[in-house]
Symmetry: C2
Subunit: 190 residues, 2 copies
DNA sequence: GCCTCACGTTAGTCGCCATTAACATTGACG
DNA sequence: CGTCAATGTTAATGGCGACTAACGTGAGGC
């Protein structure tokens, strides 16, 4: 065997994420995750402490990926930064709808101890957006901006539910237009 | 005892919905649902066929409530109809965030046989929106409108994740402005 | 040629939980 | 009163599934 597969660990994480997205954390057994990568059952314990550790790692990775896309935006002027954040998020949501689903739905299955860390990353990501939007519209109350950003995430993350109706490029364009318009509307209210 | 509680059945459904929203379908035991209404465990089987039947009924009820709010909109002119749909949805989302959560997350735990019925109601609701929006913007492709409507739902349903940052009235206003602006942006693209 | 490490395997074990059984209680109603 | 229907209760029962044990095996290093 000599691991012709790049990295068994990563392979398992991908398979688990896809299964969790489809049937939910409790709807998938360790055995099934193993089967999805060609080993069976308890082999996973050679790579992860347990099922929950798997989920934790998946969620941390997702949050990290989203945030890192935003880190490159930090140096730009606000308008450009917002574009980078927005395109990055859309790219990710259209490219990995399963991950978006897991990220949205499964936090409560992460053991209490690790949940703080996941939440911290999520909060950081939100604050990246909030910071950029506030730079663009300094007069707007922070609470309102935060609410608007959450709403935009909801809009962008709806992707996994409306798959394939539009081509990917058009879908991206529609989402971008909607996100920008709704943000503008939110911050211009006061 | 003589049932001073209006209806045990409804009471159970409410408690179950709240618990499912908080910890997910599999994160809640029958025993806990019973405890939440002051009876314990298998008493629920006097009212429901089983745990899944409970969830099914909850989801059907939610979809029904959303749709019915929209049914009154049918007779109005498109612009008014959209307002009625939008305000109805916002009202519901802000008033029952738990139900929105359950509605979004738990469909896959409904037994195959009943899932069709739930999905049918959901589709009907989406089509109410799509119909109204297409009346308002006849030049826009149906697929694009559908995608936009899904995105708006995502926006409106983000509420349960951004609770309490804003007062309810302001939150409603923000959501309404964002939804209208994003819809307009989506349909004006082509 | 051995030792050991990395990775797997199969066969338990154990606990949780939905569901069912068997047995009250109580109020309406004749 | 006695009966019935509605509604609960507490003890099984049974299955599923996470996790652990005990046991290969093959590849490098020495």
């Amino acid at each position: 065997m000599t691991t012709p597969t790049r990295n068994r660990r990563a392979e398992i994480l991908d398979a688990a994420a896809a299964l969790f997205a489809e049937r939910g954390f409790h709807g998938v057994s360790i055995e099934e995750i193993g089967a999805a990568v060609g080993v069976s059952g308890p082999a996973l314990y050679r790579h992860f402490r347990g099922k929950e550790a798997l989920l934790t790692e998946i969620l941390l990775d997702i949050s990290g990926r989203l945030s890192s896309a935003g880190a490159t935006a930090a140096a730009l002027d606000p308008a450009e930064a917002l574009n980078v954040l927005l395109r990055g998020h859309i790219e990710f949501a259209l490219g990995h709808p399963e991950l978006i689903r897991v990220h949205e739905r499964e936090l409560h299955n992460v053991p209490e101890a690790d949940r703080r860390a996941v939440r911290r990353l999520q909060r950081l990501y939100v604050e990246e957006w909030v910071g950029v939007v506030r730079d663009l519209h300094p007069g707007c109350a922070a609470a309102r901006v935060r609410a608007a950003v959450h709403a935009v995430f909801g809009l962008l993350n709806s992707t996994p539910r409306s798959v394939g109706e539009l081509g990917r490029a058009e879908m991206a364009a529609v989402l971008e237009a909607m996100a920008l318009a709704s943000l503008r509307a939110a911050v211009s209210g006061r």
